[in-house]
């Protein structure tokens, strides 16, 4: 059915800048895929290539088993929701939604039925006669979604649809999009965002891009629990994972790493003997850190140089002797800890991450 398959897809601009390098991706029908990454990573370009608004420099794009590289956007069976809504300002809500069907010369009765169905689904019925300028941001975004729905596309494309909305509306619209997906389980959806919360909450699978490459593809929790490399580890999760350069003291089923001349940590991660003495990166998420009472229970100790109280949690920025970067520990609730206090930090061994000198994860 409506699978989307990208094989060796590249995007090279005329000035030889390669914005997407060899993208291979297999999207199954009914999946909710989120492209996420920092700005400039090529995620929007990739989406626009799938839509047909941007040409594919090399490689093939298949939708439904058919190569669509040279098929015009309107015939690809896709619909797109733009960040700026892209509503036609001179048309009523009704006409905005009906436009594609009018172009396709669908009968008036069918158009009316489909538009009203979509409007009903998105609670837009009272606004059908209004112009876009008379609508709020959230309503406009719903019209944009409605415009996509009436086309009954095989694949929905969303280009940062929530980034023009305020925080509260963003959460509400996010849930609406999740509901929309539930009500159309057969439609494939591809969603671009730079917001990891949107990615984590909406996605069946996340595609994390950086500088034109796919860093990792997987379910949200897979990316959170088993990041493939340092980039993914730092991108997913907030605050970002603590990454400490280290040296492998003893390779084997259990790996012992030296974070500094004095701090040794035993991790349950298996490394090859060949890795012995190589430099590596040790990772631990702030929320996996536990404050313990004594130095014996801890694997890191240091002085608190900054405290951020968020109410539901407290962030401790700890200066550990021998480590260049501050170690962040996120503790639930409020703490009495103050700047200058000495704290001892521990963590469950299975929460530890270890990356090799090329920043790639050692497999457990």
């Amino acid at each position: 059915m409506a699978d989307v398959k990208l094989t060796h897809v590249k995007k090279i601009y005329s000035n030889k800048v390669e914005v997407l390098k060899d993208i291979n991706l297999d999207i199954k029908q009914g999946e909710f895929i989120v492209f996420v990454g920092p700005s400039g990573c090529g995620k929007s370009t990739l989406l626009r290539m799938i839509s047909g608004l941007e040409e594919i420099s090399s490689g093939t794009l298949e939708i439904d088993g058919q190569v669509v590289n040279d098929i015009p956007p309107a015939l690809r069976g896709i619909a797109m929701v733009f960040q700026s809504y892209a509503l036609y300002p001179h048309m009523s809500v009704y006409d905005n939604m009906a436009f594609s069907l009018q172009i396709a010369k669908v009968s008036k009765a069918d158009i009316d039925q489909q538009v009203r169905k979509a409007a009903d689904m998105l609670q837009l019925t009272p606004y059908l006669d209004r112009l876009p300028k008379a609508l709020s941001g959230g309503q406009r975004q719903r019209v944009a979604i409605g415009r996509a729905i009436v086309r009954r596309p095989k694949v929905f494309l969303f280009d940062e649809p929530l980034s023009n909305l305020d925080a509260a509306l963003r959460v509400a619209t996010r849930m609406e999009i999740a509901n929309l997906k539930d009500s159309m389980p057969d439609s494939t959806m591809i969603y671009v965002t730079h917001d990891q919360v949107e990615a984590m909450t909406l996605a069946d699978r996340i595609v994390l891009l950086s500088a034109g490459n796919i860093e990792q593809v997987g379910s949200p929790l897979e990316l959170y629990e088993h990041p493939a490399n340092v980039f993914v580890a730092k991108f997913i999760g907030s605050p970002a994972m603590n990454i400490v350069p280290c040296r492998i003291e003893k390779a084997g089923d259990q790996t012992r790493v030296a974070l500094s001349s004095s701090v040794m940590v035993d991790t349950p991660i298996k490394t090859d003997v060949a890795e012995q003495s190589k430099s590596a990166f040790f990772g631990i998420r702030p929320e996996d850190m536990v404050v313990v009472a004594t130095q014996e229970q801890a694997f890191l100790s240091g002085e608190v140089s900054f405290v951020e109280s968020l109410g539901e949690a407290t962030l401790l920025y700890v200066k550990v002797p021998g480590c260049d970067d501050m170690i962040i520990a996120k503790q639930a609730g409020t703490l009495k800890t103050q700047r200058g206090d000495k704290v001892h930090l521990s963590a469950l061994p299975e929460k530890m991450h270890l990356f090799d000198e090329n920043e790639q994860s050692y497999t457990r």
């Binding site: 839509s51 047909g52 608004l53 015009p72 956007p73 309107a74 015939l75 896709i78 619909a79 797109m80 733009f82 960040q83 700026s84 809504y85 892209a86 509503l87 036609y88 300002p89 001179h90 048309m91 436009f99 594609s100 172009i103 396709a104 415009r147 086309r151």
Partner: protein
């Protein structure tokens, strides 16, 4: 040379005079209503008074000049239209009855209406088409500059240029007119274009279209750039083809600007004078209102009453379009 020098001196004196006036009057105002070293209460009231006078001070010269050069002539034209040829004896409505009974007036009026329909339509249409096309090609900006250039030529200058294009030599002389040269090249008979009644009107209109297309193009090109790209991309995804995108998505979004361009050219066309004067002087059925007015007022002995009547007719025709145009332009500026 002496003329040039005196013009230069006049210009410098004029600009200096303006500067002295604004600077001096401002200082004088501050002197009369001082705000330094006075009790707070007095400072506040002085400041308020000075601030309410200052705009009038600065606008004053312009208001005076406009009254003198615009408002007074309008009033006096209305007065003159009820007086005889010398402007001394009251003749009631006889100038008006003469006008509406004269064949020449209906000829001019018909021609003006023709101009009114053809020129704004053609200039706006070509301007829009060129603006759209030139946005897509790399040499678009060069093309735009070339098309805009006629705007810099005075109507008289343009008429002289086009006279050469329509030029006709009788007998066996070689045709130096571009149009006749082309006609002869393709084996046709050379024509004296501007003397062919009815059609010669259109040959004159082409000159104004040639001048005004650049204006329409520049304004519409800016408006086209203001259309969000996403709406066009959305239309592409919705399956619209190039023409549908142009007529259903782009044109409606710049409709307000098109209307302003259209009416601006319309007002200009109602006053068309120079081109007709230079090309035919109203002969061969090409008379227009403005030229007719000029004829009656300043030529053939000069009949101020009849000239004024025609001027009033032109004014009555222009005013409603002007009002609408200004309203439209204001609305446009406020973002509709």
């Amino acid at each position: 040379m002496a003329q040039l020098a005196s013009a230069l001196v006049t210009m410098i004196l004029g600009v200096l005079g303006c500067a002295v006036y604004f600077y001096g009057s401002n200082i004088l105002l501050d002197k009369i209503f001082p705000t330094k070293n006075r009790p707070a209460q007095q400072v506040a009231s002085n400041l308020r008074i000075a601030n309410s006078i200052r705009p009038w001070l600065f606008l004053g010269p312009a208001v005076l000049l406009l009254t003198f050069y615009l408002f007074y002539p309008v009033i006096d034209s209305i007065r003159l239209s009820f007086f005889d040829r010398s402007g001394e004896e009251f003749v009631g409505l006889s100038n008006y009855t003469w006008l509406f009974g004269s064949d020449e007036f209906f000829e001019s009026f018909r021609n003006n209406m023709l101009w009114l329909i053809v020129v704004p339509t053609a200039a706006t249409f070509f301007g829009l088409i060129i603006a759209t096309m030139t946005d897509r090609i790399w040499w678009g900006n060069i093309a735009k500059s070339l098309i805009f250039m006629p705007m810099a030529i005075s109507f008289i200058g343009a008429s002289v240029i086009w006279k050469f294009i329509y030029d006709y030599r009788s007998g066996g002389d070689a045709q130096i007119g571009l149009l006749n040269a082309i006609v002869v090249f393709f084996g046709g008979e050379p024509q004296n274009w501007i003397t062919i009644p009815f059609w010669n009107n259109f040959f004159l209109m082409i000159i104004l279209v040639w001048i005004q297309t650049g204006f329409a193009m520049v304004i519409l090109s800016a408006a086209l750039r203001g259309i969000p790209d996403e709406t066009i991309e959305a239309a592409v995804l919705d399956g619209a083809n190039g023409l549908q995108i142009f007529f259903k998505i782009m044109v409606p979004q710049i409709w307000g600007t098109i209307a302003v361009v259209w009416t601006t050219i319309t007002i200009l066309v109602l006053k068309v004078f120079d081109i007709v004067l230079a090309m035919t002087n109203g002969q061969w059925d090409t008379q227009v209102l403005a030229n007719q007015m000029f004829d009656w007022m300043f030529r053939g002995g000069g009949d101020f009453g009849r000239g004024a009547v025609i001027a009033i007719v032109i004014m009555v025709l222009v005013i409603p379009i002007m009002v609408w145009n200004i309203k439209r332009a204001n609305a446009e500026m406020e973002g509709r």
